[in-house]
């Protein structure tokens, strides 16, 4: 009897572990669907067929559709027959509203304030929202229809740069984010970028995989890019001959500024405080590696936060309120995830582990909503991405296919970019924690150390 109880207890533990792992499919299936993927839960959205022309309208529609898909917040509905089926709508004027008619009825002209979209039809297709993107002169108009309410939820007008303009795509991404905000009341992540390192250079790439661009302007090997909270600058490390220097670089002007430190050490893994005043970093010396902060506004006030002596302390990441710093410490032997107050006091274990069983844990990053810390951990000789729940201090393994490392949070705190060799070589992937959907961000070998930007609220190149 006792034995049976034990067996039940063991069985109940094992499956729960498997249930928490979302990433169990093989790589050749393309897009994978996680086990907690519930399509019915997400609101359906349909991008209405194109009506009328306009400069770059096809590009805008394509980019917006992909952004909304990549948000993983909608069930994006593809109309049967694509754009060839118009559902008896007819363009009547360049105005934003009142251009569509109900099925089978005559065009009503452009003067009405309401909409005449055939709401019951779209409701039958499973749509909760319909997005119409049209052009009115040099203005692009995005109209979001609330199907259940049979009305227009919001109309967004934007003067987009011409296609081909370096700011074009980011402006379209902002339009997509506004549409998502209008539908769900929550900000999107379309207008974001990811910094990463390849061949010793820092590159940026839009979250949809477009517009990859070299950003680092140094001949030295660059590592560990980290975004400032305003998205206007990033910090990174220049590595040469066993020495490491920290730099700040302006995203717009590409001007780099040395962070004033003592200069001859190996300084690495910079991390901005949320208020942008402080840079925390690791410094390797004769005593080992320890955490320091420096005031980057006044380039002063170097402060040591940890005294490791026989252990290393590195890879700091601030909580979004700036009160705490999660970091890696080797004090238990192998590196594990610790946390302390931002002034270095109250140091304690953060992510639980089994002594002598759990492998090395590294590369923590605190989520923008403060609720989670992503990191990677050695599982049976290969690295996997984990997420720590800050409140309950429990960890969950997210990946299991191939080697997966260096997770970085999107500003929505539900997407992570990370490095994975699941396709045969190391490249960047994005996982949605809510649906388990995984997509490649970059189809190039050798990318590493990604850093996801905050929301980029205005085009950097138009900022004076």
């Amino acid at each position: 009897m006792m034995e049976r109880v034990m067996a039940v207890a063991v069985l109940s533990i094992v499956p729960s572990f498997h249930l928490s792992a979302q990433d169990t499919s093989t790589i050749d299936r393309g897009v994978r669907i996680g086990i907690i993927y519930r399509p019915g839960v997400r609101p359906g959205l349909v991008l209405l067929p194109r009506t009328g022309g306009g400069m770059g309208l096809d590009s805008v529609r394509l980019i917006v559709a992909r952004d909304l898909d990549y948000s993983d917040r909608f069930e994006v509905i593809t109309l049967p027959g694509g754009d060839s089926i118009r559902f008896a709508t007819a363009p009547t004027s360049a105005r934003a509203t009142g251009r569509r008619t109900g099925s089978g009825t005559a065009a009503t002209g452009g003067a009405q304030s309401g909409s005449t979209l055939n709401y019951p039809l779209y409701q039958a297709l499973g749509a909760d929202f319909a997005l119409d993107i049209t052009a009115a002169g040099d203005t692009t108009v995005a109209t979001l229809h609330d199907i259940a309410a049979a009305s227009i939820r919001r109309t967004v007008r934007a003067k987009l740069p011409r296609p081909g303009d370096p700011d074009f795509r980011m402006a379209v991404h902002r339009l997509a984010d506004q549409a998502l905000q209008a539908a769900l009341g929550t900000p999107g992540i379309a207008a974001t970028r990811v910094l990463f390192v390849k061949d010793g250079k820092v590159y940026q790439i839009d979250q949809d995989g477009a517009d990859q661009k070299l950003v680092s302007s140094t001949d030295r090997k660059a590592m560990s890019p980290a975004w400032g909270a305003d998205g206007r600058q990033f910090a990174y490390m220049e590595f040469q001959a066993g020495k490491g220097w920290l730099y700040l670089q302006d995203m717009t002007t590409a001007k780099r500024t040395a962070v004033s430190t003592t200069g001859s050490a190996l300084d690495f893994t910079p991390a901005f405080s949320p208020d942008g005043q402080t840079l925390a970093f690791s410094r390797a010396t004769e005593e080992g590696t320890d955490l320091y902060t420096i005031n980057i506004k006044n380039n002063c006030c170097l402060r040591r936060l940890t005294v490791g002596r026989f252990s290393d302390n590195l890879s700091p990441t601030f909580s979004p309120d700036g009160q705490r710093i999660a970091f890696v410490s080797t004090r238990p032997g192998l590196p594990q995830i610790y946390v302390m107050a931002a002034d270095g006091t109250d140091q304690q274990l953060f992510a639980p582990f089994d002594y002598g069983v759990t492998g090395s844990s590294n590369a923590p990053e605190w989520s923008p909503d403060g609720q989670s810390v992503a990191f990677h951990r050695d599982v049976a000789g290969t690295l996997q991405v984990f997420v720590l729940d800050v409140r309950t201090r429990t960890v969950r393994q997210l990946t299991s296919v191939g080697r997966n490392e260096d997770p970085t949070w999107a500003p929505d705190s539900r997407h992570l970019a990370f490095v994975s060799d699941r396709s045969g070589y190391r490249q960047l992937w994005i996982i949605d924690l809510d649906t388990g959907r995984i997509r490649p961000l970059l189809q190039q070998s050798g990318a590493r150390l990604p850093a996801w930007s905050p929301r980029l609220t205005e085009a950097p190149s138009t900022t004076p």
Partner: protein, 205 residues
Amino acid sequence: MKSVSLLLALGLGAAVVAAASCGKNPPPQNPGPVVDTAAENQRMRDSIAAAQAEAERQAAAERERIARQREADSIAALGRASEEVRSTLAAMIHFDLDKSNIRSDDMGALDQKVAILQANPELKIRIGGHCDERGSDEYNLALGNRRAQAAKQYLVSHGIDASRIETQSWGEEKPLVDGHDESAWSQNRRDEFEVTSGGDNLRRP
């Protein structure tokens, strides 16, 4: 060189003996009486002694020449010794996965470096710690630093002044061997040793 000259001397001696017996002692028609034999033996002893003296003189000259040659070659010879010491000094040590402790099979190599550093008080070195690609990219910078420090601490604990040893970490940024298997990884988990100053004429310990 020495053995060659000795052979030369012996050969010369033998030639002299042969010449003496040929020139001064034509073959008798009739084997001589006992008296003749005694005189003949005496002559032979004399000529052998002369030949030996000659060989001795030549060998001495040769030794002198070699000594002069050696003296002339001394700088080059020192250089060769220095090169040998340098390669002993540069011999790498290796580490276990995610470890920075000195392995017992590497202590001999470090002991040799201690002896070299003691025999060459002007010598200063730099230790570079390296990691394989399996660990975390950024953590490897800390681990490489630990590995360099571990070797330095070993040398310092064996009597070498800490100011003579610089350390640096390369993390996994400079693999010795490209490859993604244990053979490559184990070679890449290493400390490298290089001379920073005082390494022109290294003496053997």
